[in-house]
Symmetry: D2
Subunit: 360 residues, 4 copies
């Protein structure tokens, strides 16, 4: 294994995750400004009211929005609102809810997750059709809620048509559709940006509920569950408290979201992160011994590296494994990644890969 000392200076920011990034300065400023006097707790405050209105504007519809602390909580609240007795959730076997939430969905929902093999981490109508034979069979949990991730855990993006067809199939089979949108801003930027792209892939495509991510896109911490069909939110206020996701001083989460939605900061930040990933991909695609895969749709690159360079590079500038047997890792950009960060990181990767290549 090579020594880490062979590498150039590391970038100021890691490529580990968009949750290694801090908060956008405007978000911090929004918290500071909201810290004024008393405000009713649990969401009965002006910031939260305004935030709810802003989501209605964003979606151009009478959506119901509930703020929460984090992504797992957001997903659990959304699914708890959709699931009926004996129902199951259909998702991919890459789904964050199935893999990365420590069994929380099963524990809190008491429901089975039917996690299907799905190349590119994307469900298709055929996946749903295949589950339809379970419907009405009393020996099986009933597939009732489809949960997709946009953008996916593999950095892919469902097209508007793909989501539309999936929703049509789901609804025809009597199922509802949830989008885990921890990175829906990145997907929206990838699909053209703007409220139109957001609406096209959600409301207009037929999605029922969205977990709308904030934390990975520059908040200190905060997510929003947006019920596109408000009748589905009937029990959500009670469920939010029940699943431990009711913030008492909610104004501080609402204020963060207001900053994020102001002047399309959410889209500008996401588009920037996406661009930095494209730049990182471009800067490393030709290096010897790497397979960086196709150009990224959003803010992550999933390269396959020579086995010997992974640990030295990771020690130099941290990132996560993705598929250990394949030596695949994940490099992720964030709202605050700079071109200089990309340049420096790519230089390190180049140095490592060339050192390895020269040994072979």
């Amino acid at each position: 294994m090579m020594s880490a000392v062979d590498l150039p200076a590391a970038p100021a920011r890691s490529f580990a995750s968009d949750n290694f990034a801090g908060a956008h300065p405007e978000v911090i400023e929004a918290i500071r400004r909201a810290n004024h006097g008393h405000a009713a707790a649990y969401g009965d405050d002006p910031w939260t009211k305004e935030c709810e209105g802003r989501f209605r504007e964003l979606f151009g519809a009478d959506v119901t929005t509930l703020l929460t602390f984090n992504g797992t909580g957001s997903n659990v609240l959304a699914l708890a609102s959709l699931l009926g007795p004996a129902d199951a959730v259909v998702c991919t076997d890459w789904a964050h809810i199935a893999v990365d939430e420590a069994g929380g969905p099963e524990r809190i929902l008491g429901a089975k997750l039917i996690d299907l093999d799905a190349p590119g981490a994307k469900l298709t109508p055929a996946h749903l059709e295949d589950q339809a034979h379970l419907l009405g069979n009393l020996h099986h949990a009933q597939p009732a809620v489809v949960s997709i991730t946009q953008s996916t855990e593999l950095g892919t993006v469902y097209s508007v048509d793909e989501i539309g067809t999936l929703c049509d199939t789901a609804h025809r089979l009597g199922m509802t559709v949830h989008v885990d949108g921890a990175r829906i801003a990145n997907a929206t930027a990838a699909l053209g940006g703007g409220a139109a792209a957001l609406r096209a892939q959600t409301l207009e495509a037929g999605v029922d509920v969205v977990s709308f991510g904030g934390t990975k896109n520059g908040l200190v911490g905060g997510e929003a569950v947006v019920f596109l069909r408000p009748e589905l939110a009937r029990r959500a206020p009670f469920l939010r408290k029940q699943v431990t996701q009711l913030p008492s001083k909610m104004r501080f989460i609402a204020a963060q979201f207001l900053a994020l939605l102001d002047d399309d900061l959410w889209l500008r930040s996401a588009a920037h992160a996406n661009d930095m990933a494209v730049e990182l991909h471009r800067a490393t695609a030709a290096l010897p011994g790497l397979d960086v895969g196709p150009a990224p749709d959003v803010n992550s690159v999933f390269p396959v590296l020579p086995a010997t360079v992974i640990e030295p590079l990771r020690a130099w500038c941290f990132f996560w494994d993705w598929d250990v047997p394949r030596h695949q890792v994940r490099w992720m950009t964030a709202w605050d990644t700079t071109p200089e960060d990309v340049r420096m990181f790519a230089a390190g990767v180049a140095a490592a890969s060339e050192a390895t290549a020269s040994k072979n």
Copy 2:
């Protein structure tokens, strides 16, 4: 019913709850300072490490501390860590976990809460002895975890001896003891203040796990589960993720706690809130038609008011009902309540009660 227009100018801050208050400016400043560059997510960052060390110093022992988002989450995590199969929680029928968490503990823990009638919202050793006959009887959930609230939901405070005796009884019966310390700062201030008072009522009294509150004592949002016997925390890191309480950008919660623990801000804030409640009690105790009860131990007063004044006063300056049939309400002070707030609020109460008295 009287008209609200009879009342003087309302105070700048309500007496509704300590979670209507904002965050202490030093807490906001700590968040701002922590927003620097990248930091590992999920608690593997310097702020969290430092915070864990600060809790070890505070308790003077090798405690294990896990930061969480809110009080319900904190309680659920603590109880999930303590409960074994078929176990039940023993608490009072005033307990926040039993009454005010929307059934979350039952849902997430899958466990029964045995909520006992308890004057002053305080459990006694006799309560535990009475439950002992269930032990070993396979028809009953097994009472295994005792959860007390300090200070209690009725504003009372367990003495160090009371907690010690309760812990001794619990441990003798094979039970563990959890303290819901959403307001343990106020209790600590009431018991003399300082780390010594904290340790006396927890570690030295035999408590096993504490939900150590931050939000109600001037944080934007953040709680800490402190395992006083670290072996009880063995599964807590997994459980925290599972119950949706793992903050990804944990540095921002750690930084808030660091600010709170600096220079005893947590105790100064709590002592101030307690003092303001004493002052409010003093200023209203002699008013006609009110029964403000005994002088408060911590930061709340639970007066019984003439039925007709409740709504006008509430419309003027909001507060919560406590025991509706008895016309009992709760007035609560916070870290930011000023003597002027107290004076103005008491003046309003006086005006309302005198107007009522003159009609009778």
Copy 3:
């Protein structure tokens, strides 16, 4: 303490519980007859179809009936069918579901049981009215299902009017009503006997779902959940499997119920058990040192005994404690209790109580 040798010969059958009794011979014969060739599993067999029809006849309505193994399972299935997200169950603090099912309802339902202090183990409309303030308050699990036990855990019986008023109140508040009828046969016998009495206290009173007991009334084992409003049973077939209560060879449970319903065996057996309890009460009411309470409505007597006689009597012929501090026990008769059993048991009680009285 007296010696057990002072007592006369013990009766052939205990007065411990109706589940210490075996099965009625006609039930055994029904099992034997059903054991003929193959039959579709999971209820798709002729015995089950016939049984479902017999319950429709019995209630005179298009009820939906699902057979289960035992009472806890029956209650859990009924409640799981009624509960929505964030809902809670309202019951007494004597309720079998709250006290004697080892926390199973909380674990499987993930729901809070609001167990209320209720003299005679009977809920009243006032109990429900008192809970109504929780409705719509997002901090509280929502009281949505009322579960009463008929006859109750204290051997009392709700009158038809009492149930009717309770159902009216529940429905007005948006709640549904479940009857834990583990001993509904005994209650029906007490209310006059016959299908008319059954319908009056259930369907006509407004009850939504009944756990209709079989095991305590002479079956080897079997219960039935009868949905009086069939639309409430929509998810029950799936839930029955999910909560582990779907018998594979269901014909054998159906056949038992068919035997029980033939020629009103269920009512004859229950009426006999009730009569035996009246006889036992009569035979012991005048004994010195006992307080046998009022004449029983159903098949149990709850005497308060001199402390010193409880253990010797129990060693001689087993029975259960009921309220230990008060020295109250339960004597229960069954379908197979004979007048001779009663005579012999009363003779033993007399011998014990007179021996004690003579010492004082």
Copy 4:
């Protein structure tokens, strides 16, 4: 599609499932004999004590046995006893617990089932090694209990060595091993028969807990959870009640098991069922258009049939689909299948397949 009228007379017994069969006459007789007088409920009776002793003899060790109603309940009780906080179950994606229990395990256990792709429905040590990377990672439910089915849902049988190696791997990784032995009698017969074969594949192989099937092997209804390491049963009595699986008149289940264990009836019945499957396989293997696969290890054949014959054959003599897209079905024999049943069923299959072949 062909007409059903082309087929010869159908056999007296179906080939649908061993739970379509009734009970062995000796089992019915045992129930009848146990119906004598009163007996303590909930297992404190002589039949249950004797049954517990018989299982200790059978396994030749101090095992702890708890009787239950059905297989789902048995599995849930076993797993609930083994699972700790945040733990997950590892199984195949054919596992009954994962596929055929309507999501009951997830609901009642609140735990994730990690269901792995496994040819032949058999886990290997490599499956467990692959999951080991999740251990200690707080984002993932912790694989802690391995559940295998013996014989499997595909009619295969683990060898003694395969189970031994799996147990060694599991234990080395800190996991425990549960065997869903709904058909362990058939597996035992396949592995040579006798207590020695039972012990070799369970106790001696290192298995921790067995769900020991009774219902599919000739009982009216009854299963046994056998804890081979009794310390794992510490909470099982409470959990059995909690998961609704505590029979009140337990003597009737114990008596059935006593009959099953007498004179090796359990093994004789299972061996007979296995033999009938071999005979059915032999009688159909050469028919045109069928692929009956390899000779069966236990009591089921999984043939792939011409699509057009499935429905007519099923209408004539019922059986279940197994893999719909592949036109694979399951034919299952039982303790009561006769050679004449096999002959008649094979004749019908032959008639159907030949009619189809002649059309092509």
